[in-house]
Amino acid sequence: MTVTVISLDEYAELINRASGAGLTADQLLDETVSFDSLGVDSLGVLGVVSELEQRYGLEPDSGADHSKSATALLFALNRRLVDAGLLTAGHTEQSIVIDAPYDEVWRQTNDVAAWPELFSEYAKAEILQTAENSVTFRLSMHPDENGTVWSWVSERTLDPETGTVRARRVETGPFEFMDIVWTYRKVEGGVEMRWVQDFAMKPQAPVDTETMTARISTNSSLQLALIRRRVEERARLAA
């Protein structure tokens, strides 16, 4: 049996239950934000860890590093879920509901050239080639903690009829392959945008598929919440 990756909203709610901090997902978007700066003391963090373990039926990990940042704790959780077989290595599914008109969500999230202003992880998006319903582009991330700039080329094919986008890396870097299917559908409260990602790491890659699964799960929770906020803000301004 597998579980759903915790969304940033659920994570904030769980932190609130354990600590009374009264946070929203938006306050967790900064990856460096420490529990200390959120006013959650060490017993509160212990409570958050305990709630997470209960939610997923994980055995208590007495040696766990009750990390200083909320994002680091989320990553540690996702890593344990992968190790426990509750998240499938090389496959993630996550979604968010954006309170904005369908066309607005579709347009903003498919404007690849503007992605550096939509996601927090991309420093640059260069459009290499466009056709009627496809685009090939190079994405470059912000330098990581070792100063490495990860960069790759992806190809993206849009099907406006079904509200589906298929993306795959054509220059895969450390990945064997990396495919993402985006689906959009109208739901109560807005538009649900779903990411299904399938991937595998090359043997010589600096991280294995398990670790990358935890990383992508964590980062996608953050990016989805950030995209929701930005798309909703822009839709409000446009209205």
Partner: protein, 406 residues
């Protein structure tokens, strides 16, 4: 110049079942309005006891951060709200004072038992890992003192006194000592909130609670029909300062002075020796250098259990003479608040001095045989310069304080 070391009450905050602010409580008390009613916080139909003095709407969510709510018991929340109001009443901004000059010394009788019950239920139902980490600090007797100290940055000598009803007076005695040592400002008094299913079961097992169901006629200290007390929650928190400190900051004279304090312990049950209450009264009066004839009113412990009422009446009469001093038990309107009860009596003593009034004991019908006391039935105007407050705690604690006008 000799320092003026009289201990002054410069701030008062009461939270009681018949009024969740000092003013509401005092108005209700002077008018004989009861705060006792059917237990509403849980289904008490399986209990022989159905009444309690419950505090309504003291609005902690407005005044306490959500993070603090999650990690505190109701008893601590009562203390936090009362402490903040007492500081405001005393016109003290703790941030402007040296943190090592401020102390917190409170009393509790059973700690955070509602919080503890919740977590222990998780332990039984689900297992150890479901017990929340804040259990480690929330149940503990020192939690209220600690949280007040942290919230207001008070790092002087701090402590907690545990002596059931008498503990609330012991805390004030300890506060006076802290002022003699090196503190300039002490937050003291006590609160309790032992009305959850588990805590109430502990009290019921003492067989000292009344099983009557008429709120008005349930808790009747010194009455011929007295058959036990009603449990309540709440209490009072004070700001105590050395008199020279109060004068130096030009804050008004304060409510009154803690002139005397004494504590005694009862002899072993069945020893045939006299209980300790009379000695506590005598020593507190001696400590205050007050002659019994100077005492204007006694706020009695008033357990509402015939044998205990007789013992208290005998102790009072032995010191003052029969019917020689007005005695009152306004707590018949709110129940016994455990560690919060005696501080609430002290608050009443201070307000009696301020307003020249003695609140009555409206539950009293006919005095029980052998009770030779002048019990004040109806609230009456009277100049009050000196008040004696008595408290007895389960298992033999006795304490007395003498409160005088400034």
């Amino acid at each position: 110049m000799t320092k003026n070391r009289r201990t002054v009450f410069s701030g008062v905050s009461a939270i009681a079942p018949n009024g969740s602010t000092t003013k509401e409580f005092w108005d209700a008390t002077l008018n004989g309005v009861s705060g006792i009613g059917p237990i509403s916080t849980f289904d008490a139909s399986g209990y022989p006891v159905r009444l309690a003095g419950q505090v309504a709407d003291f609005a902690p969510r407005d005044s306490i951060d959500g993070r603090l709510m999650v990690q505190t018991d109701r008893w601590t929340q009562l203390g936090l709200v009362a402490a903040a109001r007492a500081l405001e009443d005393a016109e003290i901004d703790p941030a402007a004072l040296d943190e090592y000059d401020m102390s917190v010394i409170t009393a509790t009788s059973s700690g955070g038992n509602e919080f503890g019950q919740r977590e222990i239920q998780k332990l039984w139902d689900k297992g150890a890992r479901y017990v929340g980490p804040y259990q480690s600090i929330a149940w503990f007797y020192a939690a209220t003192t600690g949280q007040i100290s942290i919230r207001h940055g008070m790092k002087g000598a701090c402590g907690v006194l545990v002596g059931e009803q008498a503990g609330g007076l012991d805390a004030l005695g300890q506060a006076r000592r802290a002022l003699v040592d090196d503190a300039t400002t002490v937050v003291s008094g006590g609160t309790d909130a032992p009305l959850g299913p588990y805590a109430l079961a502990c009290h019921v097992s003492s067989r000292l609670l009344t099983e009557r169901q008429d709120p008005v006629r349930a808790y009747r200290p010194f009455d011929a029909e007295a058959d036990g007390y009603v449990a309540g929650e709440g209490g009072a928190i004070f700001i105590l300062e050395a008199e020279d400190t109060v004068r130096a900051r030009d804050a008004g004279p304060g409510y009154g002075v803690l002139a005397g304090y004494a504590a005694t312990f009862d002899p072993r049950p069945g020893s045939g020796r006299e209980p300790g209450l009379r000695r506590a009264i005598v020593r507190a009066l001696a400590d205050a250098r007050v002659d019994p004839s100077e005492v204007d009113v006694v706020f009695a412990d008033g357990l509402g259990v015939p044998e205990a009422d007789r013992a208290e009446a005998e102790a009072i009469s032995a010191v003052f003479g029969a019917r020689r001093v007005p005695v009152t038990v306004p707590k018949c309107l709110v129940g016994r608040l455990h560690a919060g009860g005696a501080p609430l009596d002290v608050a009443m003593a201070l307000l009696s001095i301020r307003d020249s009034v003695i609140p009555g004991t409206p539950s009293l019908g006919e005095l029980a045989p052998g009770i030779d006391l002048d019990v004040v039935r109806e609230t009456r105007q009277a100049t009050v310069r000196t008040a004696l407050v008595l408290a007895r705690g389960f298992e033999g604690f006795n304490a007395a304080v003498v409160i005088r006008s400034v």
